[in-house]
């Protein structure tokens, strides 16, 4: 390397230290991403390949995991299989080659839809409630504002299981057990604290002068809020919405204790994708991959606001 050793500023580290740093960081990144890559690959293995010893890096790709994820199957005798009409579709042929027949669709699609409905429903409500509350905290002198804000945050400190005990009893009384409405309300309540804190930060950054100018021009306070502040806060609202959605999407403790069928989401469902003799790993890996793709897209979209979201707006960069 021919870099001159003279006068490097601290802001610009020397190229040698940069090289060492990049090697170390890339090594860590590769090691840390290996488990995820492995799961992704396992989704394209056949069940025997997935549990081969030693673990197989090279294998013939197969979509059996995905077929197994979306169907229920039963093993049949060769005589019975021979008596059936020939398979109509490629996936039937694949299942038939394992001496099995497709019984019907699995529950993965309804579970995925539940995740979507509960995720989007609770996010929508939490962001609506959070936006107006954040605006009030940001612009008006609310008595005991700090106490209220701390109270809102402290609801997040309760262990979910502790909250789940009375919620379980409450939902049983109200007939909300295992309903999407119940889960939407619950997740909304959990997310509202995040939404208020994040959005207050975003609102604080919008200069008051904008609405004041609008109000001088004849807007009422509410018109100024809807026509001036909201459009300015779009990015913040979108980022907040994504954080709420990710929480609802990933949540497990409430989901596993309060739902069993009707309203079950993906996280409690994925560990119970069973094949013959334990978990069907290619199917579990396929489900994990499908489940992770939306999060992957969101992470890339959110990159700039990530820090704010994970620290409740405490660090804004």
């Amino acid at each position: 390397m021919n870099t001159p050793v003279t006068a490097h500023s601290v802001a610009e580290p020397s190229s040698r230290s940069k090289l060492i740093a990049s090697v170390l960081v890339v090594t860590y990144a590769v090691i840390t991403i290996l488990p995820l890559l492995w799961i992704f690959l396992t989704g394209f293995k056949t069940p025997p390949d997935s549990i081969a010893y030693p673990p197989r890096i090279l294998f013939e790709p197969s979509v059996e995991g995905y077929v197994n994820l979306f169907t229920t199957r039963s093993r049949q005798t060769p005589e019975f299989l021979a008596s059936l009409p020939p398979p109509q579709t490629w996936y039937e042929r694949l299942v038939r080659s394992r001496n099995m027949v497709i019984g019907g669709p699995s529950k993965v699609v309804p579970r995925f839809l539940n995740s979507m409905i509960i995720g989007f429903g609770s996010t929508f409500l939490a962001v609506c409630f959070g936006t107006i509350a954040a605006y009030a905290f940001s612009r008006f002198r609310v008595p005991l504002a700090d106490d209220l804000l701390f109270f809102i945050l402290s609801t997040r400190m309760m262990p979910p299981i502790a909250v789940a005990i009375p919620i379980y009893l409450m939902f049983r009384h109200l007939g909300l057990s295992d309903t999407k409405l119940g889960m939407i309300l619950l997740y909304t309540a959990v997310n509202v604290s995040l939404a208020v804190w994040l959005l207050k930060g975003f609102m604080d950054e919008i200069p008051r002068e904008y609405e004041e100018a609008a109000m001088v021009d004849g807007y009422t306070r509410l018109q100024a809020f809807f026509k001036v502040v909201l459009p300015q806060a779009t990015t913040g609202i979108a980022a907040t919405a994504i954080f709420c959605l990710i929480f609802a999407w990933n949540e497990y403790a409430f989901a596993v204790l309060l739902t069993s069928g009707e309203a079950q989401t993906m996280p409690p469902f994925i560990p119970f994708i069973i094949g013959e003799g334990g978990q069907d790993w290619p199917a579990v890996a396929a489900a994990t991959t499908i489940f992770f793709i939306p999060i992957l897209c969101f992470t890339i979209l959110l990159r700039r606001h990530l820090l704010r979201g994970i620290t409740f707006g405490a660090v804004r960069k």
């Binding site: 840390t32 409630f129 604290s193 009422t220």
Partner: protein
């Protein structure tokens, strides 16, 4: 601006304008805050109060018609003298302390390296961030696969590096290794979190401070101890606060990875709580435990936030 304002006024639905047009700021403030507060009262505070009430009873949720008896502080006394609860608390403390220590060292180290701004650092940062965005439950589940002796990726990887037989140890089946398995998976998942916060701390230090130190010929080590570390300290403490609260409540990842086993070696407090509440159905007893856990987190967080503010003020 005035034409814009007129157009906007014209476009606001008439009825809405009429109904809210004359509202005072104070009325709007309350109107805006009420929905959130009501929701939190209904779904957080009311259940909390109910839990407090239940914690003084012998209520069992699977026998709703049994006679409800108030037992005073008996549940609390039973919990505080129960060796199993103390064991769970120790397990939790071990998990929280070690996972935070490892995450701090790795996260801060990575942040220092990424702060060198080498080519492609932004891409690699995003790659490193991915694990923490996943669902902890799904993570716990697929790590049971990765940690299986023989067929799992982890044991084979270790075998490749160290040469030991991959089937000679099992991370989740072994009483000694299982507590480290949950720490390891937590560290894998949450190191990026600490890293991200540290990175923000490092970027908040203005360059001129280092330039001044350079002029004074302060060594790199001296610069780290006297500038970098104190300036990043508030950020580090914030990271510790958030991780400690989260890991103290940890349920999902551990429940799926080891579900407290083998034996009760990885039974953290939340898992004990789940067992008491939803397997043994001792609702009164578990309510008391829930209150104790909540008070612990809440109290510790309060003390910690005060310390944090003192560091920030310095």
């Amino acid at each position: 601006m005035s034409t814009l304002a007129e157009r906007a006024v014209a476009r606001t639905p008439r009825r809405l304008a009429l109904r809210f047009g004359g509202m005072s700021d104070k009325a709007i403030a309350w109107l805006f805050i009420t929905p959130s507060v009501l929701l939190l009262l209904a779904i957080n505070i009311f259940p909390l109060l109910w839990t407090i009430q239940l914690s003084f009873t012998n209520y069992r949720a699977n026998r709703p018609n049994a006679v409800l008896r108030y037992v005073g502080l008996d549940n609390y006394r039973d919990i505080l003298t129960d060796p199993e609860v103390w064991h769970a608390m120790q397990t939790t403390a071990h998990f929280v302390l070690w996972s935070i220590a490892l995450e701090l060292v790795l996260g801060f180290g990575l942040a220092l390296l990424i702060n060198r701004r080498f080519r492609g650092h932004s891409f690699w940062t995003t790659v490193i961030l991915l694990p923490m965005m996943l669902s902890p439950a799904v993570v716990g589940n697929f790590w049971t696969f990765l940690l299986q002796p023989q067929i799992g990726l982890f044991n084979s990887g270790i075998a490749l590096v160290t040469g030991v037989d991959p089937s000679s140890f099992q991370m989740i089946g072994d009483v000694r290794l299982a507590p480290w398995a949950i720490i390891m998976v937590d560290t894998w998942m949450w190191t990026p979190y600490v890293m991200l916060i540290c990175l923000a701390g490092l970027r908040s230090i203005p360059d001129y401070i280092y330039e001044a130190a350079e002029v004074d010929r302060a060594s790199a080590l001296r610069q780290f101890w006297s500038i970098t570390l104190p300036m990043v300290m508030p950020f580090l403490m914030l990271a510790i606060l958030f991780r400690a609260i989260e890991n103290f409540k940890m349920f999902d990842m551990v429940n799926l990875l080891t579900s407290g086993g083998p034996g009760s070696t990885t039974e953290v407090a939340s898992i004990t709580l789940k067992r008491e509440a939803f397997e043994k159905w001792r609702t009164g007893y578990s309510s008391a435990l829930a209150i104790i856990l909540f008070v612990t987190v809440f109290g510790a967080a309060n003390i910690y936030v005060k310390a944090l503010n003192r560091v920030k003020q310095r």
